[in-house]
């Protein structure tokens, strides 16, 4: 199987979908000659031309609004928002328009748009360029929020999202773009709303998504050295949220921990923990644990930035403490 980076896998998905379906087109800032600020659309302008690789002015509201209008006519726009931090100026179009239109129209219109955007910290880009905001969109009925953690999923999920008829926020991660992995050639589809068990285990369930899945997997390695067997679940999407997979695991391990990069309060972990206690309360041997980013705007200095992000040792120590109380 070919080995690609996460970035190349996304690029391959876009190329394949644009070749497969003429109604797919991309738009966004600097996605043309420049290839996108994380180079995901590199080479596509030459292949598909400026009408289908539409480089836009700096105009996030306009980009998402335009995509919404075009999508209602049956086109399949894939909009790139340079980073999720910029999406707030276009949020009205996504939340008030795209996510509401099918309902407000009584089902007579669809908005098949994918809004791709990188999320997360790690490049010392500070408070206005390092946020994890996807959970805001996961709150909204009518939206899907998808966040792949591997190159294979980046390709398979992006292809699925482009074919889906709903507005989807497709969350990439700034630190994953150079990650390498095996990616199936050609048609590779990952179903929406199906979590992946990245590692099987019996003692503790670690639920995560996006880049933090890698941290969870490293933690599982460390825990194995202590004789603790951790099961790592990659949610792949926050909405739809595959609680069946999470609950089956928790019923087996009796311990649940959620690891995500975003802020703790009202974060994805809050929803997942609530559902675990609603649906698997009797199986729990310990309160559900959360390991999250610190509740601060992201600072600049490397040491401070690292201190604001979830650390491997928090995951390892948390799991040890939980299981130790068994």
């Amino acid at each position: 199987m070919p080995v690609l980076t996460y970035r190349q896998a996304l690029n391959e998905a876009l190329r394949e979908e644009m070749n497969r379906d003429e109604s797919v087109f991309c738009l966004g800032e600097e996605i043309g000659r420049f290839g996108g600020s994380y180079r995901v659309t590199e080479g596509l302008l030459d292949e598909f031309g400026p009408e289908r690789i539409l480089a836009t002015p700096i105009s996030e509201l306009g980009i998402i609004g335009l995509a919404t209008g075009a999508a209602m006519t049956g086109l399949r726009p894939v909009a790139e928002i340079m980073t999720i931090n910029f999406i707030m100026v276009g949020m009205d179009q996504l939340v008030n328009n795209a996510a509401k239109i099918p309902y407000m129209f009584g089902g007579e219109a669809q908005v098949p748009i994918v809004v791709r955007t990188p999320s997360g910290a790690g490049h010392q880009l500070t408070a206005q360029h390092s946020q994890v905001l996807e959970v805001w969109f996961a709150y909204v009925p009518g939206m899907y929020v998808v966040a792949p953690s591997t190159p294979a999923d980046a390709k398979g999920l992006l292809k699925t999202c482009i074919r889906d008829n709903n507005p989807i926020l497709f969350v990439e991660n700034v630190l994953l773009y150079n990650d390498k992995g095996e990616v199936p050639d050609g048609e590779h589809i990952v179903p929406l709303g199906k979590a992946a068990i990245r590692r099987e285990g019996d003692d503790v369930t670690i639920v995560s998504y996006s880049r933090m899945v890698n941290v969870a997997l490293q933690a599982a390695d460390a825990l194995a050295d202590d004789g603790i067997s951790a099961e790592v679940i990659d949610l792949r999407s926050l909405r739809p949220l595959d609680m069946d997979t999470v609950l089956a695991s928790v019923r087996k391990t009796n311990h649940a921990m959620i690891v995500h990069e975003g802020w703790r309060k009202y974060g994805a972990g809050a929803e997942i923990a609530a559902q675990i206690q609603e649906l698997a309360f009797d199986y729990l041997d310990h309160p559900v644990q959360r390991v999250t980013g610190a509740e601060v705007p992201l600072p600049y200095a490397q040491s401070l930035e690292a201190a604001a992000l979830p650390q491997l040792e928090f995951v390892v120590d948390g799991a040890r403490t939980m299981v130790g109380k068994r």
């Binding site: 002015p57 105009s59 609004g65 995509a67 099918p102 309902y103 089902g107």
Partner: protein, 324 residues
């Protein structure tokens, strides 16, 4: 001009007059229903602004797109929205055009090219640019018209949409219904320019200032702009000076408006203007126009009665259509 004359013969004034009367009677009826609590939530009525909706609608092809706002009944009806389905929607019935899920602020029918009645000021403008881009991509000769009020020209979405449409020569008509009030505030208290069309010049966009109470002037200006858009000449900003006969919403009595101002605009009611045109041309007379009014009154009354007898939506409807 060629493209427009090819697309359809010019409508006669009597047809446009009828369309305007139908809207007027519809809006007056809705107001009555609201007072009786049969229509709930809120309504933003458009009595006085019928000429803009009807004049522009007649300049569009049936397959063209439009987006409009929470004050949008007139735009939907002018493009052919079924009266009964419109009333049923406002009454919250199962037979409502949006199955009772849209209500007054979101009255739409995608089958008529109505791609949204948006209740956030300015939100429909970028959507209309997307509709225009879709037409450009498909090269199908369609255009989109986006209707908005004077207040929308102060919001970011307006400026982003104007810029995008102009830089790509998107086939979009930016139709500003300048009714002189943004909600309860006179335009001069919120906006440093009196003629909003001046804002188009910042986007190198053609603009026209037109009497929005004269349906013929509206039609002619929109026809010209539509023809240009269809042949790749890009967007036009159309500023129609008009007036809201009623308040902003619901039972707003609009006491903040000077009496003389209201009186002057009522004298220039678009229905009166159209009647005068018809009579001056000798193509109709008072009695005939009154008969038209009466017949439309009967038509609207019948539609509302049918809508009133429609069933309420099934409760299972609450969770459908959240996703496609």
């Amino acid at each position: 001009m060629t493209a427009a004359t090819e697309q359809a013969a010019d409508p006669d004034i009597a047809t446009m007059y009828r369309d305007m009367v139908r809207i007027r009677v519809f809006e007056e009826t809705v107001q009555g229903l609201f007072m009786q609590s049969l229509v709930s939530g809120t309504t933003h009525l458009a009595q006085g602004q019928e000429a803009v909706a009807v004049g522009v609608a007649h300049a569009l092809r049936p397959d063209d797109y439009s987006t409009y706002t929470y004050r949008g009944h007139h735009h939907a009806l002018a493009r052919g929205l079924d009266l009964e389905a419109a009333f049923a929607e406002l009454l919250g019935r199962a037979t409502g055009i949006n199955h009772g899920k849209g209500g007054s602020m979101h009255l739409t029918d995608a089958r008529l090219g109505l791609y949204g009645s948006f209740a956030i000021v300015g939100a429909g403008l970028p959507v209309a640019v997307g509709l225009g881009r879709a037409a450009q991509l498909r090269q199908d000769g369609r255009i989109s018209a986006t209707f908005f009020g004077d207040g929308a020209t102060n919001i970011g979405a307006f400026h982003e949409a104007m810029n995008l449409a102009s830089v790509w020569k998107a086939p979009v008509l930016f139709v500003c219904e300048n009714n002189l009030y943004g909600e309860y505030s006179p335009l001069r208290s919120t906006t440093p320019v009196e003629d909003l069309a001046i804002r188009a010049s910042a986007y190198a966009m053609r603009a026209q200032i037109v009497d929005g109470n004269d349906v013929v002037a509206v039609y002619e200006s929109a026809r010209e702009a539509a023809a240009l858009a269809r042949v790749g000449e890009g967007p036009t900003f159309l500023e129609y000076k008009t007036y809201r006969h009623r308040g902003h919403s619901r039972s707003d009595p609009a006491k903040y408006r000077p009496e003389e101002e209201v009186k002057a605009w009522l004298a220039r009611d678009p229905l009166t203007v159209a009647r005068r045109r018809l009579m001056d041309a000798g193509s109709s007379n008072e009695a005939e126009l009154d008969r038209i009014d009466g017949a439309i009154g009967v038509e609207v009354e019948a539609a509302v009665e049918r809508a009133k007898s429609a069933p309420w939506p099934e409760l299972s409807e609450v969770t459908t259509n959240v996703y496609a």
